[in-house]
């Protein structure tokens, strides 16, 4: 790695803490971002000569703050810009500041920064765009690319989101314990949204959208380092790692979706799996279960099975049962039904999802799963109806292609034997 690449990495990693602290000083997002930008410019000038400071975030906060304050003074007095040396004696100031940046303080700074992005007034896509822009520091161009929209459209989306947040009351006082927990869970949900935005990509876009998944993992790790004893944050991080570990196996060469059972498990990323398993293992010790931990535990059971036949479906059924109680939702029941079909057969599974029909009448996966159960039961005509509905509801071309494969099979099976044999 070259020296400048190292500086880039240091600036990226210092960003959440630095922007978070600058936001606390200035109480204005634009000013904080601008101050950080200015500090980065000075870092690029100063670090290659003087070497990187021991605490890059503290350096950036100090410089960002001083530049912004000098700017305000300059504007007031209409004086010329002071030269770099005159701004402040950084070497003396840095250590003192670093000492004041105690853990709990910057913990709340970063949490606040993340929390601002998941303001309830913002639709999910805007929350994600805000977090990627402000916390992760991705460029508008990078975010636009990941969202598959034009740069102008993304610029507008972010500007609009920022305006909305600026109008809202941003809580600057140090949060109490209850409020901190609420913020933490809102932020965790937003990180999961970022991940899913990348994870729900289709085969032809998976590559471009993968950075969303990677960024979500980075943010989850960041959050976990700030709140080391929160089992749900361990669970969230584990869940993202265990799901993303399968990325290379999820699409075939043509970009078609490969189901879990059919994936080449040698393509799974064992390093991510090891980290995910270690984290869920650690989380379980706390005996404070939660939805992320349960979902991570389910993902862990898949990750542990070296062959699809080795999957512990009984345990997965139980875990989904626990999730149903904690977070009742037809989608969870639908997922549980897949496990039930493996343990107790398609008939029991079908019976389980029948009552969901009304609430999931516009849900692609419902009809895909229903069609598969019906097909297993040999009720091909009904299966075809379900699959047709699924295709109409498919969100991506990969989903549609996958259902079409089932339909083709049904078609072949329903043809007279002679024709099939001649194939």
């Amino acid at each position: 790695m070259t020296d400048t690449a190292w500086i880039d990495a240091a600036l990226t990693s210092a960003r959440p803490q630095a922007v978070g602290a600058l936001l606390r000083y200035f109480r204005n997002l634009d000013t904080a971002e601008e101050a950080f930008q200015n500090a980065c410019l000075r870092a690029l000038k100063s670090w290659p000569q003087n070497g990187p400071p021991r605490n890059p975030a503290a350096w950036l906060i100090m410089v960002g703050r001083n530049v912004a304050i000098d700017e305000v003074r300059r504007n007031r007095k209409q004086e010329p810009l002071p030269d770099d040396e005159a701004i402040s004696d950084l070497d003396d100031a840095e250590d003192a500041l670093a000492e004041r940046l105690d853990g709990s303080h910057y913990r709340d700074d970063i949490l606040r920064l993340l929390f601002i992005c998941c303001h309830p007034d913002l639709p999910a896509t805007q929350q994600i765009a805000m977090a990627l822009r402000i916390v992760s520091g991705l460029t508008v161009k990078q975010i636009a690319r990941a969202f598959l929209v034009s740069e102008a459209a993304m610029e507008q989306r972010i500007t609009r989101a920022k305006a909305r947040v600026a109008d809202a009351d941003v809580p600057f006082e140090t949060p109490g314990a209850v409020e901190r927990t609420e913020r933490l869970s809102a932020v965790a949900a937003m990180i999961y949204l970022i991940f899913n935005e990348g994870y729900s990509a289709s085969g032809d876009t998976a590559e471009i959208r993968a950075p969303l998944c990677e960024e979500a993992i980075r943010l989850a790790r960041l959050l976990l380092r700030l709140f080391q004893s929160e089992p749900e944050i361990m669970g969230l991080t584990a869940l993202l790692l265990l799901q993303h570990a399968r990325a290379a196996a999820r699409f075939d060469a043509e970009g078609a979706l490969v189901l879990l059972d059919d994936q080449d498990r040698s393509l799974w990323n064992q390093k991510m799996i090891a980290e995910g398993l270690a984290l869920i293992d650690k989380a379980m010790r706390h005996r404070r279960s939660g939805p992320y931990q349960i979902q991570a535990a389910i993902a862990a059971l898949h990750a542990r099975a070296t062959k699809p036949e080795d999957t512990d479906w009984t345990e997965i059924d139980l875990l989904y049962g626990a999730l149903e109680i904690m977070q009742p939702s037809p989608v969870v029941t639908l997922n549980r039904a897949v496990a039930v079909s493996k343990v107790r057969g398609p008939e029991a599974a079908l019976e389980m999802i029948e009552p969901l029909g009304q609430r999931l009448s516009n849900y692609f996966h419902f009809f895909g799963v229903r069609g598969a159960f019906l097909m297993q039961l040999g009720r091909n005509d009904e299966a075809r109806v379900a699959f047709d509905r699924a295709i109409a509801l498919a969100n991506t071309s990969a989903e549609a292609a996958h259902i079409r494969m089932h339909l083709d099979r049904l078609m072949r099976d329903s043809q007279p034997r002679g024709v099939k044999a001649g194939k």
């Binding site: 240091a10 080391q228 004893s229």
Partner: protein, 122 residues
Amino acid sequence: MLYAILCYHDEDTVGSWTREQDAAVMKKLAVVQDKLAKQGRLGPVARLLPTTSATTLRKEDPPIVIDGPYAETKEQLLGFYLVDCKNLDEALDVARDLGAANPGGAYEIRPVGLFQPGSTAA
């Protein structure tokens, strides 16, 4: 004498490397490691998982289990090497080579008092 070279780095920085950057660093380090291995001087090498997966057991009575790494510092212990060196100068040379392959952070060089190669396969 055996020297432990303990690798300290800012975890946020290492964590924000892209996969390509990470692979490039590992490749450069492998060159240094191969050289030592050919000379029969390289002991176990370990890269630890992020400190988010760390747990600390405080040896009080009774012992207390705490989430996270022992030291709450910016630079964390991320891995280690064991290298056979004649003296500290030689160990520092090895550390310099490793440092050239992977700049940033620091290496702590500690002479090893007792070494048991162990019996684990993994």
